[in-house]
């Protein structure tokens, strides 16, 4: 009996083979744009990272890769103090961002979950997603409007209304930049990042809540002992994954919020590569910085992946 089924299966498979091989080329045609796109915009840039080891001229041969080889000369920044200052700053910006934004999203998700009116909850959620659909240019524009010394500056107006003396030019002072980054990224992403938690909550089993209620658990207890532990795994995974981006502060955010006055004091790795590589066209130097940054990121991603694997059996590869 079993054998018959098996045989039938085999025969069926064989028939498929013949039909499918006939058209197999079509699959490759469908795949071609993706392959080509990856080759050109994924692999060529990867290969041209090699320019970090060259005395690079754009016009030397194909992609300038015929330029003279200079070894690690372009990496001399590794011995210089300013570079570590930039690295440290990039690190600080990312750490602060992560430390504030992740927990606040978790708390907000818990509060959303406790709202009793579904209608109200839906409206608030929708509103909280809105800033996600705004570019960093707009955010920078709004921030500028809020912080300027002139009478359009809402913060200075508030300060004066509350009786503080003098108007502060927040945008021109580098020491206000970190809070600015943290607050602006919370405003922009807080609501949106609750989505993941909300969906994780919906997969917590209902029986748990019912059992807890039968046992007389209060709402606080239910939130603390059922909902919260249900969210911890996804919270940890997110946290660990974000470690891979520790040295990639958001280029869009920092670039748009900085200005010429404080630029040197808020320079991050990404910004540095942009200003030196693309604006000043010092390609080899910027490519070396970029390559260093990329290697660190890969190491961080691989190690965090290994950690997640061990902790929760979820990894990307």
């Amino acid at each position: 009996m079993n054998k018959a089924v098996e045989l039938a299966g085999l025969r069926k498979k064989k028939k498929f083979r013949t039909v499918q091989t006939q058209y197999i080329g079509e699959l490759f045609v469908l795949l071609a744009p993706a392959l080509l796109s990856t080759l050109v915009f994924g692999y060529l840039p990867m290969i041209s990272n090699y320019m970090a080891f060259l005395d690079y001229r754009l016009t030397n041969g194909f992609m300038g890769l015929d330029s003279p080889f200079v070894g690690f000369k372009n990496f001399d920044f590794l011995a210089q103090a300013w570079f570590y200052k930039i690295v440290g700053r990039t690190f600080l910006y990312s750490i602060c961002g992560i430390a504030v934004s992740y927990p606040s999203a978790l708390i907000l998700a818990l509060c959303f979950n406790e709202l009793r009116s579904l209608r109200f909850k839906k409206i608030v959620q929708t509103i909280s997603y809105v800033p996600h659909f705004v570019s960093w240019v707009t955010v920078a524009s709004i921030v500028y409007m809020f912080l300027t010394v002139e009478y359009e500056g809402l913060f200075n107006n508030l300060r004066q209304a509350l009786g503080f003396e003098g108007r502060i030019s927040f945008m021109q002072r580098a020491d206000y930049f970190l809070p600015l980054l943290v607050i602006s990224s919370i405003w922009k992403n807080l609501g949106w990042s609750t989505i993941l938690y909300m969906s994780a909550m919906s997969s917590i089993e209902e029986q748990l809540y019912e059992a807890a209620m039968v046992d007389g658990a209060s709402r606080l207890q239910r939130a603390l002992y059922i909902t919260l532990p249900g969210l911890v795994p996804i919270f940890c995974i997110q946290l660990i994954f974000s470690m891979g981006n520790l040295f990639n502060s958001s280029f869009d955010q920092v670039f748009n919020l900085q200005n010429d006055v404080i630029q040197a004091d808020v320079m991050t790795l990404n910004l540095y590569t942009y200003f030196y590589g693309i604006v000043n066209q010092r390609f080899a130097h910027a490519a070396a910085v970029g390559l260093f940054n990329g290697i660190i990121s890969v190491i961080l991603i691989c190690s965090t992946n290994a950690i997640t694997r061990r902790l929760s059996d979820t990894g990307i590869f």
Binding site: L27, L30, S37, F41, V130, I195, Y209, E210, A287
Partner: protein, 319 residues
Amino acid sequence: MDIEINRANPAPKLSGAAIRRSKGERIFDALNIVGMLVLGIVMLYPFYYVLIIAFNSPTDTAASPLWLFPRQLTLLNFETVLQYPGLARAFLVTALRCLVAPFYSVSVCFMAAYALSNRHLPWRRFIVFFLLLPTFIGGSMVSTYIVIARLKLINTFWVFVLPGAFAYFISVVMRASLDNLPAELQESAMLDGASYYRIFFQIMLPLSKSVLAAFFFFAVVSNWLDLNSSLFYITKKNLYTLQYIMHLVLKSNEAANIIDHNSMSMDRLVEDMERMREKPTPLSVRMAITALVTFPILFIYPFFQHYFVKGMLTGAVKA
């Protein structure tokens, strides 16, 4: 969403009555609602502030603080901005980009997703690896710039379309949705002698409409919001996008240029003299342009919110 939320907190369904709530709970509920109202205000007030400044008379705005309502309504700021000749062109470029790039990107990703979802594709593991690798060890900003420069894409429209077209991550999500379709669909079509093209266009494409629409909207929004490709690769005025113009207005003297351009024309000068018209300030022009660039997408968003949330979730879960 509603159903999920219900499951997460079944309290209303079971206890039903408010009597059961203790005093502490009631205080918490009240605080929670107040907190949510504050949150709503914090999220929306900045947009409102942009609007009141954009609609208020610039000299009046510069004279004293503005809080909740415009004191002297005027359309002057918008008039000034709209007369800037670069703006219409930028809108055109942005709109075109927001249609072409998503269409191309979604097609590329979906075709790849279909091919990869097919069990009979030879060397599948290798191809997956090939497509996946650059997302982890890609080029840096500069090496990408070099490649794009050598391909002569700088200062062309295609720089908006081609570079980001294939995203492995998106095609993984699409592939997952294809995998959810019953395998018999393809098998029976094959037995009937359909080619892969035919299966792709007549079965898979119609069945994946909602997924494709979701990713299309995603791409439209990210194209509308994108500044970097203009920032890195565009120097020619006729390819400026709206975001880039807004960036220029914010960062450089472009706001002054807009105002100057406006008062340069002779008719305008005469008209201004006649009407004793005031001149807009750079700040008010900035707010007007911010409003013009930001609000279109915000008005579209609530209608497609469902798609966005769904797309975000499928993406997150599959990743």
